[in-house]
Symmetry: D2
Subunit: 408 residues, 4 copies
C-alpha cells in the first residue's frame, strides 16, 4: 500500500487499547512506532507505560513520557477560562481542551523523529477523533493521521482480546470484560460515558464519580478560600502564589473535598448525535465562579457583554476541535484584550456541592460606591441625567408605537 | 405649569414611600390620583394598601388592586425562561421581568380612567425607572411619566419623614429610620441591595436572605422532583398539572426548603454604574435547570447553539427595559419557534443549595441510543463517514497552514 | 448489492450529463428511473427534456416537468430577501436558494411513486451536492441519495462521451468538447465557474456574461422605476401589482438592460476550498437595493440592527444547504416578525450598472421630519435630553478611564 | 456659576458658527479660549481660521492649526476599513470616524494648556455631540465638555446673526441666509443633510454632490487601477508605494472622476430618530471593494465569517461614538489578528459609478487551483470524503425529521 505510514508517533497510554493499536500499527504497516505518553494530570503512574512499550519492542529512544501539566494549564486551560467558556450552557470542556496539546506534541515529535504519521486511539463516533485530527492537520498539513478504530476489523471486545493474546500483549485481569463505562481524565476533569450511562433517564450510579465526594458526604461546615487573579489568570490561593498547574491541583482538592463540579449532561456531539456524559470538574468549577466574581468588579459592561456574546461560539470552536484555527485565535485576541485589568481577589464559600462568591476586591475595581450609594453621593451622579437618557432611549419606541397604532 | 398632569395612575404599594408620592402628586400638581396595586406574588397583604389609599383620600373607584400572578408567570416569566435568560452569566432577571407588566397595567388603567400620566416610585439611579418608562412610552407614546424621585427635593430620610408628618401620612414604627437595605420581591425572586450591602468585598449577612433557608440549615436528605414541560413551558410537578403561577409557587417552596437560588452578584446597571445585589430565585433556579435538562434531549444542536448566541442580547434587552421593543419580539419569535418540541419530563435532585438534573425523558427526544451506543449500532452510524467529515473540515486549516508556513 | 436503489427520482435537465446519469442509474442498479425537470426560470425550453427522457426509455407517467417559478420566488427567494442576505458580503445566493426546492419536489415525487431514492448531478467538489442532500435528508431521513459523480469511474470527458456513445445517448455537437466553463441558471441568477475562470487574477472575458448587457453598452440615459413592498415582499412595479415570479422577471429585464448585478467573486465553499464565480443577479440586485430602501424608513433601528447581526449566519446557513433546518426556521421567524410594517414604495435610478435608491415613502414610515428638522421642531425633541443621554452613556467610560489611569 | 469653565479648547473651523461659539464662550463664561483647527482633508484653507481667531482676540500661542491627515487615515480610517465596516448595510462612517481624533487632540491640547474644558459646535439632535463627548470623557473623565447649541438661546438664524453683528464677528455674504443644507467633509467623505434634503421621498438635487461627478458625466471609457495591500492596509496604487493619506487622496481623485461612492441614505441616529443624508465617499468606496477583493483570496473562511458577524456591532460602536471603548478595542484586536496575511494586489475597474474587482493575486493566497479545478486534481481532493461530510452534517437533521414526523 503506497499510502502506508513508515514511521508513526502514537498517543500511547500504556493501557490495553493503545497497546493493541501499537501492535496493530506494527503488523498492519510494518512501520516503526514512537510512543508518546503525556502526564496531563490524569492521576496515573506513567512509568508502567514505558515498561509496556519496551515490552512491545519499542526502542528506549522512541519512548517519550512527558509531564505537560504546566503547559496544559498555562497555555490551554487558563486562556479558555478567561472566556468563561461553557459548551451548551453547562459543560466546562475538560476533554476538548486537552486534545490540541496532545496533537501539538505528536506533531512536534513526528518532526523530531522524521515520522510521517501520528496515530490516536479515539473511536469513529466521538468528538476526540475530530479534535486530534483537526489539530494535527492545522499544525502540519502534510502529516498522516492514523485512526485505527475507523480502519480495523477488531470491532468487538472478543476480537480485541484475541488480537492481544495472539500478539502477547499483557491483559490486566479487569480488562478482559467490558468496562461498565468509558473514562477520560486530566487535570481539569474526569468524564465518564457510554454503556451503563447510556440511558439519560436514569440517574448515574454513585460509583461513576471518581474525582469528587458525594455532596452528601462532604464536610458539614463551609470552607472559605480566596483566589487571586492577575490579568484574568488565577495566580494565588489564600495569598500564596502558585504555578498554574499547582493552582488547579489545589482547587481540585478543594472541590473534591466539598463535592463541587459534578455534572450529568446530555450534549450535542460535533458528529451529529446526542450523548450523555457524567463530568467532574472540581477545580474548574471553582475557577469559573471565581473568575466571574473578579470580572464583576473589574470588567467594563461593554467588554463584558461582548464577551458574553462571543463565548458560545468560542466554546463551540473548542468543543469541535478548532483550537488551532484563525477564528479561535481572533476570539482569543479579543478576550485577552479584555482581561488586562481582571486583577484582584475573590472570596468563595465552599459547601456541599456549592461554590459561591461572597466577596471580591481589587485595586482595578470599577465598582464605585460613590456612584451607586443610596446615601448622598456628593454630586457623583445627577439623577436628572436619567430623564434625558430615558427620553432618548424611548424616542424610537414612541415612533414605532405611533406608527403601529395607525394599523390596528 | 402647562405640563402638569391632570390625572395620574400611580404604582402604589401601600408603603410609606409610595404614600408620600401619592400625597406629593396631589399637592404638587393638584391632580387626581388613581392607585394601582398589583399582586405579583411579593407575599404581602394588599388590602392594607386599599385602606391606606382611602385614608389618603382616594375614592374607592380609583383604587385598583389586582392579582396578576398568572399573567405574570404565563406571559412574562415563562417566555423568558424559554430563552434560558441569564444577565451577565448569572442573574435570572427577577426584578426586570416584572416591570413591563406593571407599566402595561398602569397604561391600561390610564386609558380606562382618561388619565394623562402614570407615576412610579423608582429612583433616578436605578434600572427600574428605565424599565417602567420605556414600557409605558412603548405602549402609549403620548403618556406622561412622573418619576417623583427625580423631581422633588425630598432628598433625605429626614425630609421624607417631615413631609409624611406634615401630610398626616401614617408612619409605621420600623419605617422611621433607614432600612438597612432595599428590597424588591415578586413571585420570581427577592432582591436586596444598597446600604449595608454596598461593600462588595463583604459577605452579605444571613438576615438579608428572606426567601430561602441557609443551605446549611436545609434538610440533610435530598429530595427528588419531576418537572414536566410542554412546548418549553413547565406544566406539571410530579405528574400533577398546575397553572403557571402555581407551578412557580410550588417550585419556590421546594427551593426555599432546600436553600436553592441564592446569588451574591455585582452587575452593570444600564445607567452606567456597577451595583451589588443579593438575589433569591428559588423556584426560578430550579426551573432554569429543569428547562435546560429537557432541552438537552429535545432541542436540536443547531437550534440550541443559535439560542445560546441570542440569549445574552435577549437578557440584556429585558434587563435594560426593552421588553416592549421590536427586537425583543423578534428574538422571542425565534426562541418560541425552537420550543415546539421541548416537551417531556426532567427528574431533579434538590439538596442543600444544589439542584441537579439526574434524568430526563420525552416522546420528543432526539437522543438516539442506537447512534451513540458503544455497542454494535446495527449500521445506524458508519464510522468511516467520520474520515470524510474530518478531511473536509480540515481542508481550509491545511491551506492556512501551508500558506502561513511560507512566511515564517 | 443490498443497498442498491430500486426506484430513483432523478433531477433531470435533459442535457448530456444528466442523460448519462439516467442511463448509468439504469445500468448500474437496474432500477426504475423517474425524471423530474423543473422550470425555475433558467430560460430553457423544457419539452426537449421530455423527448430525451422518452428516448432513454422513461415511461410517460414517470416524466415530470413542472413550472415552479412562482413557488420558487414566493417561498424561497422572497423570504431570503427579507433578510437582505448576502454571503460573504456580496453574493446573493442565487444557486443556493434553488436547491432546497428541487430536493423538496424530488422527495415529494419519490413518495408519490414509492421510490426509495433520489439522484442529482452535482459533483463531489461543490456545494450543491451538500444542499441537495441535506435538504433531502431533512425532508425524508430514510431516503437514499445517489450522487453518481462521487460513485462512478467516468472521470474524464472522454470516458463520458464513450459511455454516451455506447448507450445511444444523443450528443449535441457542441457538447463533445469541454465547455469553457460551467453554468447554472434560474430566475434569480446565472452563475459561471470553472475552467476558463479558474485564475482569479484574470478578468473574466465578456462572453461569460449571459444575463446582463455590459454596463458600457447599457443605455446612456437613466431609467427610474418604483417598487412597492408589502410586509417585506415586493408586490408591484411602477404601481402595477404583479405576482412574485413576474416581479422578479420584470426586474431581471430592467437589470439586464442596464447592466446591473454582475459580480466577480472568490468565495469559500462549505467543503473547504475557495472558488471563483461570475454571478449575474440583475433583478435580485435591484430587489436588494429596493428592500433596503424601504426598510430605511419603515424598520425600527433595534429591529434593523438585530437583523444585520443575524444576517451573516442566515446567509451562511442557506449557502451551506441548511434551508430545512431548525435554526434557519428560527431566524426566519425573527426576520418575518420584523417585516410586518415593511410596506411602502421605493424609487430607484437605474443607469449603466448602478441601481440607487433616490426616494422612498410609506404610510408605515418611522421617519419623523418633526423630530429631525433643522427648523424649529415645536417641542418634538428637547435637545437638553441629549446631555443626560450622553452623561449616562459616558459614565462607564469615565470609570474605566479613571481606573486605567492608575496603572499607566 | 461655580461650574463655569476657566479655559476652553474649542474645535474651531473658522466659519461663522464656531466664531459665534468662540465669542459666546468668552462672554458667557469670561473664560480663555484656545482654538483648534484640524486639517482632516476637508479641502478648505486653514490659514483664514488663524486670521479669524486673531481677529476675535485669540492670542497666537492659543491658536492651533494642525494637519492630521496622515494620523486620521493611518490610525482611524485604515483600522476601520480592515473590518469592512458599514453602518446599516451601506454607510461608510465618514463623519463618525473623524470625531474621536478631533476629541483626542482637544483633550491633549487641554492638558497642554491646563484648560479645564473643551467645546464643540455640534447640535443637540445629532450624533456628533455624542461622538465628541464620549471620546473626550473616555480620554479624560474630569474634562468639562461645553456644547453651546444645547445651552444658549440663539435658537434661530436671526438671533445668531444678531449676536454676530453685536459682537463684530465678520459675516460672509453667503452666510446671512440659511444654507440650503448642512455639510461635513473630511478626507474620507462629504455628507450633506438637513433642510432641502429632509424629505426622503424626493431625489436629492444634483448640486448637493460636491465630491464626485455625476456618473452620467463620468468618462465613457473604463479605467483600471491596482491597489496593493499589506496586512489589511492599502500601501500602493498601480505599484507605487504611498503614505496612507496620499493613497486615500489618490483614490478620492479616481472616485471623483468616475462618479463613484454616492449614497442617498436614511439612517437611524443614536439619539433615536431617523435622518436622511447624502454621502459621497469616492476613495473609501473603492477601498472597501479592493479590501474585500484581497480578503477573498487571503482570508480563511472561519476568520472571514467571524469578521462578518462582528462587523455590524463594530460599525454601530463607531457610529454611536464608542471608538475609545473597551469593546471596540476588543473587536479591533480580533479584526487586526485576522489581517496578518491580507497582503496582495487587487485589480479594479472604474466606470461611471461602478467599482468592480476584476482580478486579485497574492503570495499569501489561500486559493488553490489544485483543489478547485474541474480538471484532474492529482489527488488533492478526494470526492468520496464529501459523502461522509454530508452524512454527518445530515445526521441531526435526520433525527429531527424522524422526531417531528411522529407529531404530525
Amino acid at each position: 500500500m503506497t499510502d502506508a505510514p513508515k514511521k508513526v508517533v502514537l498517543a500511547y497510554s500504556g493501557g490495553l487499547d493503545t497497546s493493541i493499536i501499537l501492535k496493530w500499527l506494527q503488523t498492519e504497516y510494518g512501520c516503526e512506532v514512537i510512543t508518546f505518553t503525556a502526564d496531563l494530570g490524569q492521576g496515573e503512574e506513567l512509568e508502567p507505560a514505558r515498561q509496556k512499550a519496551e515490552l512491545l519492542g519499542i526502542a528506549p529512544e522512541n519512548i517519550h513520557i512527558e509531564d505537560l501539566r504546566e503547559e496544559f494549564v498555562r497555555d490551554f486551560v487558563f486562556p479558555m477560562f478567561r472566556a468563561n467558556a461553557l459548551y451548551e450552557g453547562l459543560y466546562l470542556l475538560g476533554t476538548s481542551i486537552a486534545r490540541p496539546l496532545i496533537s501539538k506534541r505528536l506533531v512536534e515529535l513526528a518532526h523530531q523523529h522524521g515520522a510521517d504519521a501520528v496515530a490516536h486511539g479515539a473511536t469513529g463516533k466521538g468528538n476526540d477523533q475530530v479534535r486530534f485530527e483537526l489539530s494535527a492537520y492545522a499544525l502540519d498539513p502534510s502529516i498522516k493521521v492514523i485512526a485505527p478504530w475507523r480502519l480495523w476489523d477488531l470491532t468487538s471486545r472478543t476480537k480485541l482480546i484475541e488480537f492481544a493474546e495472539k500478539n502477547q500483549i499483557p491483559i490486566a485481569k479487569d480488562k478482559r470484560g467490558e468496562a461498565p463505562f468509558s473514562v477520560d481524565a486530566n487535570l481539569l476533569h474526569t468524564s465518564s460515558e457510554g454503556k451503563a450511562l447510556e440511558n439519560p433517564a436514569e440517574e448515574a450510579p454513585d460509583y461513576v464519580y471518581q474525582r469528587t465526594v458525594n455532596p452528601e458526604d462532604a464536610p458539614d461546615t463551609p470552607e472559605y478560600i480566596e483566589v487571586t487573579f492577575e490579568a484574568g489568570d488565577a495566580v494565588a490561593i489564600n495569598g500564596q502564589k502558585l504555578s498554574p498547574a499547582t493552582i488547579l491541583t489545589d482547587l481540585n482538592e478543594y472541590g473534591r473535598k466539598h463535592g463541587i463540579g459534578r455534572l450529568d449532561f446530555v450534549e450535542n456531539r460535533f458528529v451529529g448525535m446526542k450523548s450523555r456524559g457524567i463530568y467532574e470538574t472540581p477545580g474548574g468549577t471553582i475557577l469559573l465562579e471565581a473568575h466571574r466574581g473578579i470580572e464583576q468588579i473589574t470588567l467594563d459592561s461593554g467588554a463584558g457583554h461582548l464577551k458574553d456574546c462571543l463565548m458560545p461560539r468560542y466554546a463551540e470552536l473548542i468543543y469541535n476541535g478548532f483550537w488551532f484555527s484563525p477564528e479561535r485565535e481572533m476570539l482569543q485576541a479579543a478576550i485577552d484584550k479584555s482581561q488586562e485589568h481582571v486583577t484582584g481577589t475573590v472570596r468563595l464559600k465552599l459547601y456541599k456541592g456549592n461554590v459561591s462568591t461572597v466577596g471580591r476586591w481589587s485595586d482595578h475595581s470599577l465598582y464605585s460606591e460613590a456612584h451607586v450609594t443610596f446615601e448622598d453621593d456628593a454630586g457623583a451622579y445627577d439623577q436628572k441625567d436619567a430623564a434625558g437618557f430615558i427620553k432618548l432611549n424611548a424616542l424610537r419606541l414612541k415612533l414605532v408605537a405611533n406608527r403601529n397604532a395607525k394599523f390596528k
